[in-house]
C-alpha cells in the first residue's frame, strides 16, 4: 500500500468514530420533512383558490402566514423567474430574503465580452452602505483557460472616477474552460459613502491566463433609486454593564441590506472586550435578527467596533430590543502573546493556559497554535509588533483546524522571515467569556 493511502486511511479513522448528536439530527430530519410538506400543501392551496377566483385576497393571507418562516419565504421567491439562484445565495440571511420579497432587487442584464469570455451583471441590490452584484462569467467558445481569477474589480462613476471601497468580497474562480455550467457569483462592494450618481461602470480585470492580460471588462450599471431604501439612524448612546465592563451602544443604522450597530468599549474598562458573541435584534413577538453569518460580521478596531446584523428594514415591529448575553473579554495586560518561533516556545500568554502549544513550520513560515476552549468566531490574532515596535495588522493566510471538541488549531503566516527573533502577537479573539443579560429597548 502506498504511504499516501495509509495516510488517507488515518483520516478515515477520524471520521469513522465521528457521531452526530442524535436529537439534533432527528429535529433536522423532521424540520426537513415539514418544510417539504409545508411548501407542497400551500402551493396546492394556492392553485385551488386561484381557480375559484378569490386569488388576490387569499394569496395575501397565505403570504402573511408564511412570512414568519424565512425558509418558506425563500420557497415562494424561488418561484419568481430569475430569482431562484439569488435566493440560494442569500438564503442564510433573512434580511436579504426579505429584501428580495419586497422587490428591491434591480435587474441589470448587461454584458461585455473579450476573448470569448462574457461578464454579465444580472442583478444588483444597492443601498447607502453596500452594492451587491450578481454576475456570471460565461466561456462562449469553451476555450481552455488556466486558473482564471479576478485581479481587480472597480466601480467607476459617470466621469470615470473610481468609487473607493471600504471592503470588497467576491468569488474566487472565474470560469473553467471545460465546464458548460455557469455559476452565479456574488460580489459585495462596501461603500464609504452613498452612491449619488445614476450611472456607473463595473470594470473587471482577470489574471491567470496570458491571453487575457490587459483586458478590461466594462459593464454599465444604472441605478433605480426607487429600489434603494434610505438609511434610518437611531442614536442611542446607552451604556450598559456586563460584569463591571462597560459597553456603550452608540447608534444603530438600519439599511435594506443590513443593520449596523456601532459600539464603543470605554478606556476605563479593566478588561478588553474582544467580541460580542450573540448580538441580536428581537421584536415583541420574539422574532430574531442575528449577526451576518456569511460575510462581514464586524469591522473596526480595538474600542470602536461596528457589528452587522441581518436587516429588519421592511418589518414594522411595535417594539424592538437589542439583546446580548455573552462577551469575549480578557484582562488588558493579557492581550499580548510572545512566542519564539525557533524554539517553538510560548514566552507569554493569558494565564488561564488555554494556548497550549505552538509549532513553527519553516518551509511555510507559519506558526501553528493549539488553543483550548469553545470558540469559532474570528481569528485569535489580529496584529503583530514589527521591528519598530508598532502593531501592524496581520495579513491573510490564516487558517483553522478542528482537532476535537476541545482543541482548535490555528495557523498564521508570520511576517518576519527570520525566526530567531521573538514575535509579539496581539489577541483579537479568545475563548474567555463574561456573561450578562442585556436588553436595550430601541423602539
Amino acid at each position: 500500500m502506498h504511504d499516501s493511502e495509509k495516510e488517507l486511511l488515518k483520516v478515515k479513522d477520524k471520521y469513522q468514530y465521528l457521531k452526530g448528536p442524535d436529537d439534533k439530527l432527528d429535529q433536522a430530519i423532521r424540520a426537513g420533512i415539514n418544510q417539504a410538506k409545508g411548501r407542497r400543501s400551500s402551493l396546492d392551496h394556492m392553485r385551488h383558490w386561484m381557480l375559484s377566483g378569490a386569488a388576490a385576497i387569499i394569496l395575501l393571507v397565505l403570504f402573511a402566514g408564511a412570512i414568519h418562516q424565512s425558509d418558506l419565504v425563500a420557497g415562494y421567491v424561488r418561484k419568481v423567474p430569475g430569482m431562484e439562484k439569488i435566493v440560494e445565495l442569500v438564503h442564510q440571511d433573512k434580511g436579504l430574503v426579505d429584501l428580495i420579497h419586497h422587490d428591491f432587487v434591480q435587474t441589470i442584464n448587461k454584458s461585455d465580452s473579450h476573448g470569448g469570455l462574457t461578464l454579465t451583471v444580472k442583478n444588483i441590490i444597492a443601498d447607502d452602505q453596500q452594492l451587491i452584484m450578481y454576475y456570471t462569467f460565461t466561456n462562449e467558445n469553451h476555450e481552455s483557460f488556466k486558473d482564471l481569477q479576478i485581479k481587480s474589480m472597480k466601480l467607476k462613476d459617470s466621469v470615470g472616477e473610481e468609487i473607493k471601497q471600504y471592503s470588497l468580497e467576491y468569488g474566487p474562480d472565474v470560469v473553467e474552460g471545460d465546464r458548460k455550467k455557469t455559476e452565479l457569483q456574488e460580489a459585495i462592494y462596501g461603500l464609504h459613502s452613498p452612491l449619488t450618481d445614476s450611472s456607473y461602470s463595473l470594470n473587471v480585470e482577470l489574471e491567470g491566463d496570458k491571453k487575457l492580460e490587459n483586458t478590461v471588462w466594462k459593464v454599465p450599471i444604472k441605478l433605480d433609486r426607487s429600489k434603494m431604501g434610505a438609511n434610518k439612524d437611531i442614536v442611542l448612546n446607552k451604556e450598559v454593564k456586563v460584569q463591571q465592563q462597560s459597553v456603550l451602544v452608540k447608534d444603530i443604522t438600519f439599511s435594506p441590506t443590513r443593520v449596523a450597530v456601532q459600539v464603543e468599549y470605554p478606556e476605563e474598562n479593566s478588561k478588553q472586550v474582544l467580541n460580542i458573541e450573540d448580538l441580536q435584534l428581537v421584536d415583541e413577538k420574539g422574532e430574531v435578527w442575528s449577526k451576518i453569518t456569511n460575510g462581514i460580521s464586524a469591522s473596526g478596531d480595538g474600542n470602536h467596533v461596528t457589528y452587522y446584523l441581518e436587516s429588519n428594514y421592511f418589518k414594522k415591529p411595535k417594539q424592538l430590543y437589542l439583546v446580548f448575553h455573552k462577551l469575549q473579554a480578557l484582562d488588558k495586560d493579557e492581550l499580548e502573546v510572545v512566542v519564539n518561533p525557533k524554539d517553538q516556545k510560548i514566552l507569554k500568554a493569558p494565564k488561564d493556559g488555554k494556548i497550549t502549544a505552538v509549532q513553527y513550520n519553516l518551509s511555510e513560515n507559519q506558526l501553528e497554535f493549539k488553543i483550548k476552549g469553545d470558540f469559532h468566531i474570528g481569528s485569535p490574532f489580529s496584529k503583530y509588533k514589527n521591528d519598530q515596535g508598532e502593531f501592524k495588522y496581520l495579513s491573510g493566510n490564516t487558517y483553522m483546524n478542528s482537532y476535537d471538541n476541545d482543541i482548535t488549531g490555528y495557523g498564521l503566516t508570520i511576517p518576519q522571515v527570520n525566526p530567531v527573533e521573538n514575535l509579539t502577537l496581539l489577541l483579537g479573539s479568545y475563548p474567555a467569556y463574561i456573561n450578562g443579560d442585556v436588553k436595550i429597548r430601541i423602539k
Binding site: 502506498h2 499516501s4 493511502e5 495516510e7 488517507l8 486511511l9 488515518k10 483520516v11 471520521y15 469513522q16 465521528l18 457521531k19 452526530g20 448528536p21 442524535d22 439530527l25 432527528d26 433536522a28 430530519i29 423532521r30 424540520a31 426537513g32 420533512i33 418544510q35 417539504a36 410538506k37 411548501r39 440560494e88 442564510q92 471601497q165 471600504y166 471592503s167 470588497l168 468580497e169 467576491y170 468569488g171 474566487p172 455559476e183 453569518t293 456569511n294 460575510g295 462581514i296 464586524a298 469591522s299 473596526g300 478596531d301 519553516l362 518551509s363 513560515n365 469559532h376 474570528g378 489580529s382 491573510g396 490564516t398 487558517y399 483553522m400 483546524n401 478542528s402 522571515v417 483579537g428
Partner: protein, 173 residues
Amino acid sequence: MELHDLIKRAKKGDEHAFYELLQTHKQQLYRIAYSYLKSEADAIEAIQETTYRAFRSIRKLKKPDYFSTWLIRILINYCNDELKKRSRLVFSDQFVEIAGSRQDQHSIEMEEAVDQLEEHLRQVITLKYFHDLKIKEIAQIMNLPEGTIKTWLAKGLKILKQNLSEEGGAPGA
C-alpha cells in the same frame, strides 16, 4: 421493516416511512457532511436541507436500490454549493471580521492536500477513503462509469503522493 418496503412507501409520500429511512442513514450523512463543512451546526443544517430536497423529489427516484447513493448525491451537491458560497475573497482597507468564510475551515495536512485536488478527484478520494464507499456506489452517486472512477482514484492518489512528498515547496516563503 424491510428497507425496500420503506422506500416504496416513501415514494408514495408516506412521511413516517421516509423518516424511518432517514434514521438509518443519518449518521453516515452526518459524517459525510461534517467532512465537507467541518462544523456540527453546518452538518446538521445539511441534513435538514437534504431531507427537504429528498422528500420533495423522492417520487422521481427511479430505482429504489439506489436510494442510499441518491441521498448521498443530494447531500454532496448541497455541500459543494455551500463550500462554493463560502469561498469568497475579501479585501478591505481596515480590520474586518469574516464569519463563515472558507479560510477558517481548512484542515490537517492530508485533508488539506485532498482539499486542493480538483473537485472531481477530491470527490472520489473523499468518498472512497474517508467514507469507505465502494467504487460501484461512488459511480452511482456521481452518475459515471466505474472505469472513470477507478481512473480518477489512481490519478488523485498519484497527485497526493507527489504533493505530500514535496518538501519546502512553498513559493515565496
